[in-house]
């Protein structure tokens, strides 16, 4: 075991570097990904080391970026596209929905689009409008895409490499408020990634209730579990890691053991991931459930100005409140 203490951002950066070293067909594309290293410095140093042809500062047009990335895939490349912020992926929505998700099926398997679309997402950083959104449900609803998100530096490092290695298109969500969190990362290449790209991880095991969450909310839920433990409540925390496909067995096993579940995410609840999880859990754990599956998420309003975000986003209190309501049911 060779470990390094890395931030989540550095984990991503190292993961990108490893993938670029392993395969000359891997290219990075996006706005400001070159000299600047991206506004979050995730691609820092990579243009210097791999050249302008492999780390491409594109014109300011997201449909153009994803659209040309498709062409590069068709020519045998494996582009990793950076969308600068969550709220700027929509100009590329058409290319993603009409083309990226459907090309393999449309071509009866002849064509592949091994593309990764990186999206720094979520709030909590005091940003202006369009810089704090959680739009994963749009892509998770879209057949033909894979959608994943990391919650710690180790996953950042390994999942990035797995996503790039995937022959299917992957939407890779990066929890931007956790970019600077540090953690030990096992970078032992011979041992490989500890988990598959689409496996959920049980981050903590408990007996009373299961928190199902992902990305930036994993930390919040682990804190909630800590706080709950102090009150004698034992929580399981499942980090989904993959939103599409969902790792159903891991989720369902956890909920069956606890009989209660609360889903936590930053996105609005109406038709958010929590809707799918609640629908799935009630269907598969009907006789195990002692209370309805509850959802804690952003309210069903556009992401508010940042002075509201602390109360808009699920926080420790709101998670605990839902836990209490479930236990009291």
């Amino acid at each position: 075991m060779t470990t390094q203490k890395l931030t989540l951002a550095k984990g991503l950066n190292s993961g990108l570097r490893a993938a670029m070293e392993a395969d000359p067909k891997v290219v990075l594309m996006g706005e400001d990904v070159g000299k600047l290293g991206g506004v979050f410095r995730i691609t820092e140093g990579l243009q210097k080391d791999f050249g302008e042809d492999r780390v491409i500062d594109t014109p300011l047009a997201e449909s153009g970026i994803v659209g040309t990335a498709i062409g590069l895939c068709l020519r045998g490349y494996r582009p990793v596209v950076e969308i600068q912020f969550d709220g700027f992926v929509y100009p590329a929505f058409d290319q993603i929905i009409s083309q990226v998700s459907k090309m393999h099926a449309r071509s009866l398997g002849a064509l592949r689009l091994p593309m990764v679309i990186r999206i720094p997402y979520g709030g909590g950083i005091g940003a202006v409008e369009h810089h704090s959104e959680s739009n994963e449900a749009y892509f998770a609803h879209t057949a033909g895409l894979r959608v994943v998100t990391c919650s710690d530096p180790g996953d950042a490092y390994w999942m990035m490499q797995q996503a790039i290695a995937s022959d299917d298109p992957v939407i890779f969500y990066e929890p931007k408020r956790r970019y600077h969190e540090r953690g030990e990362v096992d970078i032992d290449e011979t041992a490989g990634a500890p988990l598959g790209l689409h496996q959920a991880a049980v981050r903590r095991e408990g007996t009373d209730l299961t928190l199902v969450t992902y990305g930036p909310m994993v930390k919040t839920c682990l804190q909630a579990a800590e706080a709950a433990a102090a009150e004698g409540i034992s929580l399981t925390v499942v980090d989904l890691r993959s939103l599409s496909p969902l790792d159903r067995p891991t989720v369902l096993d956890a909920v069956k053991k606890t009989g209660r579940a609360v889903v936590v995410h930053e996105a609005s609840t109406f038709l958010g991931m929590g809707a799918e999880l609640a629908a799935l859990i009630q269907q598969e754990c009907f006789y195990h459930l002692e209370a309805p599956v509850l959802r804690v998420g952003g309210y069903n309003i556009p992401y508010p100005p940042s002075r509201f975000e602390e109360e808009f986003l699920p926080n420790l209190d709101r998670v605990m409140d839902a836990v209490d309501r479930s236990l009291a049911f």
Partner: protein
Amino acid sequence: MSDEPTVRHHESVVTPAGEHDITDGGPDMVQFLDAEGNRLETNESNAPYAEIVEALTAEDGRAMYRDLVLVRRVDAEGHALQRQGELGLWPSLLGQEAAQVGAGRAMRPQDYAFPGYREHGVAWCKGVPPENLLGMFRGVNNGGWDSNENNFHLYTIVIGNQMLHATGYAMGIQRDGAVGTGDESRDAAVMAFTGDGGTAQGDYNEALVFAGVANAPVVFFVQNNQWAISEPNYKQFRIPPYLRARGFGFPGVRVDGNDVLASYAVSKAAMDAARAGQGPTLIEAFTYRMGAHTTSDDPTKYRIAAEVDIWREKDPIKRMRGFMEKNGHADQEFFDAVDAEADEIAARIRKACQEMPNPELPTMFDNIYVDEHPVVAAERDEFVAYHASFEGAGH
């Protein structure tokens, strides 16, 4: 190419709708054959391409003519098959054969084409068996050929999308070092096809930006057939499509899309330049959609027959045949042989269409992902089990 029209500041340049002449391509248009097939004099517009046309042999001309006739026949058969209920839809290329054959023949095998949905003639030139085009219009698949076999991408229905794919593919060619090496079998370029309406889309214009910035080896080939379903040119742009290139910093040329020699020569020059590393070109082929937009459309709602009559006079096949006859490049035997071949192909297509099996139902779950996907796998299994439950049940 002629001088670019001047756009003066603070004088209105709007052309009232009525003034858009949709039957005359104007002096900038590159043309070699008139409507009767007479070889035009060299003029400012066609001069840069004259050498290419001069180099063509009678044999080349016959091959082009054959393509024109066969492609029209393929198209007619597609149309007929739709009328008879064998296909759900057919977008006819009638009238646009010369534009497409000229472009298609300017490509080398290693060049890649990104079509819209009407490029049956380009498909033909790239060697895609026409039967393969039918599947998507019959509803048995969404694209029935392996693009990489003939370097002819799947049809793209969402207007504009493929322009960016073409540009990205061209950027890949650059990264492969397959531009400007001088090696004829190595250097490659891309041709991207769209219509007059397609020029309004954001994706189209972004493709011009990306291609310009990257100096990518891509040729944008716009077939201006005067109509985007029911909307005439003046509802899509203020000045003709070939002039759009001036705003992006690379050459734009208008060519007579009903003159196969002109279409070929302009396309070849642009593709040669692209392969040589000189970057993108935009070509507007000035032509006409003789038929309906698709078999679902009723053009009597929005256009007058007189317009179609004018364009019938400019027919691309008649014109090429006139040229060949005038110059003794082919005899009646040749023309008869081509027609006979067309009959054969039509019969072959018809047979292939009628015999095309319905796909096995569970195959709809195939190839959604490259790697196994649990949701899809589970649904396929359920689907199979569910359908098995009916078997023998007389349901």
